[in-house]
């Protein structure tokens, strides 16, 4: 079955079979990451435009590497680039990039919905590499691949998310994705960052404000990045955050021993997570990074191999 993906703007519109298809397609690309020679010629002659209007290191490098391992060329727009500084509109910028005839555009933007806006105006596939506080679909896919490898299945998992859920696009995409497979979510963090409305994102979402309670029975613990700029909003003091919500080895003992710990990065050791947990046996932080390549290779292959011939 090939559902046919033109764009990937978010996880929310996808069905469980579509998600499972993308994960299945990622498996052979996981193999490739273990080969001594990793470069394929599958997308030779194709061009991927990477338009990162918001700063990014790991996602940009991951997409660049994924494209290059498929044999595609990349063109890069970076946040610091001068056209943005000169006040050019987003629409003019992407139309200019499009006129250089890439076969797909991967974009990150600080405004929620910016990829949806761009997709309405361009013919070529648009892949959302993170939009504001909305979605980060490839992160959710790579997380799901990692969970499926470790746990054997995505069905009916108990997922605990800790941190700034309100502003997290990673949390939203993961809730949409794992919710399709019957997950029960426990959202934990300072109340300012865990508003009641989050309970409407999926059928089984509860809010818990004590981390000890939130960790009980968890199959997966997702630690979200604490953006220090958010701490100045003012939301709360760094000291209080660490005191109440840092994932420490002692607290991890409250979770089942087979529970896994994930973090989308970049990770600040000593703030949201204790180094001993980040480096411990339950952590899959580096597997997430490797799986990111596999998922992004699979996705680029999907959208560009079904795109109409130019």
């Amino acid at each position: 079955m090939n559902p046919g993906f033109h764009d990937l703007l978010g996880i929310e519109p996808l069905t469980a079979p579509e998600i499972a298809f993308l994960l299945d397609q990622s498996q052979p690309f996981q193999e490739i990451q273990r080969h001594p020679l990793k470069k394929l010629a599958t997308l030779r002659g194709k061009t991927v435009c990477l338009a990162f209007f918001e700063n990014s290191t790991r996602t940009r490098i991951s997409f660049t590497t994924a494209a290059s391992r498929l044999g595609a060329d990349t063109m890069n727009l970076q946040a610091e680039s001068s056209s943005l500084k000169k006040g050019e509109s987003l629409l003019d910028t992407v139309r200019t990039l499009d006129a250089m005839k890439p076969d797909c555009i991967v974009m990150r933007h600080a405004s929620s919905g910016a990829p949806h806006f761009v997709a309405r105006h361009l013919e070529i596939p648009v892949i959302n590499a993170g939009d504001g506080t909305h979605e980060h679909p490839t992160q959710a896919l790579l997380d799901a691949l990692t969970i499926r490898d470790r746990r054997g299945s995505l069905e009916n998992l108990r997922i605990t998310m800790i941190g700034d859920i309100l502003h997290s696009r990673v949390a939203r995409s993961n809730i949409h994705l794992l919710g399709r497979f019957g997950a029960h979510f426990t959202l934990c963090g300072p109340p300012q960052w865990v508003p009641r409305e989050l309970e409407t994102l999926a059928p089984n979402v509860r809010r818990v404000f004590a981390i000890e309670e939130a960790l009980k029975d968890a199959d997966v613990v997702m630690v979200l990045r604490v953006q220090t700029e958010r701490l100045h909003e003012p939301a709360l003091s760094v000291e209080d955050y660490i005191l109440l919500y840092q994932l420490t080895p002692e607290r991890m003992k409250l979770a089942p021993p087979q529970a896994i710990v994930m973090h989308p990065g970049p990770m600040i050791r000593g703030l949201e997570i204790d180094p001993a947990v980040a480096d411990g046996p339950q952590s899959c932080v580096l597997e997430q990074v490797t799986n990111g390549l596999a998922v992004r290779m699979a996705l680029l292959f999907q959208v560009m191999s079904i795109a109409p011939p130019s």
């Binding site: 405004s111 929620s112 919905g113 949806h116 806006f117 504001g132 506080t133 409305e197 409407t200 994102l201």
Partner: protein
């Protein structure tokens, strides 16, 4: 002389609802009766149409002076005429701000020269609407303003609002406030709720409005003067206005057609044509507004016609300016959403467009705008059963930023008569 024949005349001021002819001469109504014969008069056959007092829009933005690429007094009043409005009150947030008599005079003169309908400017409460010092309100009144507001933003402090209310009581000018607690709304682009959470957009809680309504109500009580809530959008604000009215505090409010039609759930795919301030509310709030329109707590329907050029709106949702156009869709939306489903009567709807806004402006306006001998010859003629489709491209407004492009309607404006002359007819 113009004779409007065979129409169904509905005048909320006198509770008239009858087949009557109306004879207009020299800018005033000369006669209202059945079977008028006037040999010298041009005849407008209004068979099948409603003949109402001229509609008044208490809240619009004509963008002139300063942003003529979005709208001009000429294009805006043409759109107003096409919407059935005979008089429109333009907010002072032009460039420069209408905070002095010279700007007021330039608007009045420009409107007299090129306007299709009457333009009644609203002056700024404070200099530059900056919320620091009161503007020259008395001088602007002499130049032609009909009310004051710092619309676009709230009157900055309670103290300034109090001063303005006390002074305006003396000048007999209603104070209109854009009610918003900006510390709560800062950075927000839509109503806070499940939809804003799902879309990852910064939300504005409903109480950002109602907190400021509470402030206004209490200052109206303190000063004993008229406080009008612009574009009221949520249940809590409505409750505050209802309670104030029950206590006899001189408070009034308006609701826009988009707020009684749409909710935050209608915002699709980050379409900036659904971005306005106050933002589209929850379904519960929308239902409360309809209830308020029906029971009488809401005094009038006002468009908040806010034209923006395509380039301003074709951007990321959080970067787009607030506002949508509204003149040409106001009456059709009121018919479709309120009258046809039986939520309010035709009489009540007309009241919301005529007597309601006139009363907010003052008794002198209210008195002159009935369908009676000697009153101003401003009339709005409309159909309640013509099927048609609104096309933004056909709008007379310079800007096409409407969420209602392609919407189907039953009934709408047929002719707009200003000062006894046909300003527009379908």
């Amino acid at each position: 002389m113009l004779l409007i024949k065979n129409g169904r005349v509905i005048d909320p001021a006198s509770r008239t609802d009858a087949q009557l002819d109306v004879l207009l001469e020299g800018g005033t109504i000369r006669d209202v009766a059945a079977g008028i014969v006037a040999r010298d008069a041009a005849v407008f056959d209004a068979t099948g149409l409603i003949v109402a007092p001229g509609f008044i829009d208490l809240h619009c933005h004509l963008r002139e002076p300063g942003e003529e690429f979005k709208e001009t007094i000429e294009s805006g009043t043409r759109a107003a005429a096409r919407g059935g409005f005979t008089a429109v009150c333009c907010m002072p947030n032009t460039k420069p701000v209408n905070d002095n008599a010279a700007v007021t005079r330039s608007i009045v003169e420009r409107a007299a020269a090129v306007g299709s309908v009457r333009v009644w400017p609203i002056g700024a409460v404070t200099l530059g609407s900056k919320g620091e010092a009161l503007a020259e309100i008395a001088a602007m009144r002499r130049a032609g303003i009909v009310a004051v507001s710092d619309d676009g933003r709230p009157v900055a402090t309670a103290k300034l609002l109090r001063s303005a209310m006390e002074f305006c009581r003396e000048l007999q000018l209603t104070v209109i406030d854009h009610c918003e607690d900006t510390s709560l709304s800062a950075g927000g682009v839509m109503r806070e709720g499940p939809t804003s959470i799902r879309m990852g957009l910064h939300g504005i809680p409903a109480c950002a409005e109602s907190l400021a309504v509470a402030r206004g109500v209490q200052i109206a009580e303190l000063t004993g003067w008229k406080f009008h809530v612009a574009h009221l959008s949520c249940r809590e604000s409505l409750d505050l206005v209802r309670r104030a009215k029950q206590k006899g505090v001189p408070v009034s409010c308006e609701v826009t057609p988009h707020h009684f039609t749409l909710t935050d759930e209608h915002i699709r795919e980050y379409d900036t044509h659904f971005k306005m301030n106050p933002p589209l509310a929850s379904r519960e709030d929308r239902d409360a507004l309809i209830e308020g329109l029906a029971e009488g707590t809401v005094d009038c329907i006002a468009t908040d016609h806010a034209p923006h050029d395509a380039a301003s709106k074709q951007v990321e949702f959080d970067k787009a300016p607030f506002g949508i156009t509204g003149f040409e869709t106001a009456l059709p939306l009121a018919l479709r959403e309120l009258v046809h489903p039986g939520r309010i009567s035709l009489m009540r709807m007309i009241e919301l467009f005529t007597t309601g806004p006139a009363r907010v402006l003052g008794p002198h306006v209210e008195q002159s705008r009935r369908i009676a001998k000697g009153c101003v010859a401003d009339l709005t003629l409309f159909s309640t059963d013509r099927d048609w489709t609104f096309r933004a491209a056909d709008s007379a407004s310079k800007s096409k930023n409407t969420p209602f492009d392609g919407e189907k309607f039953r009934g709408g404006p047929a002719a707009t008569i200003v000062g006894g002359e046909i300003a527009w007819k379908a």
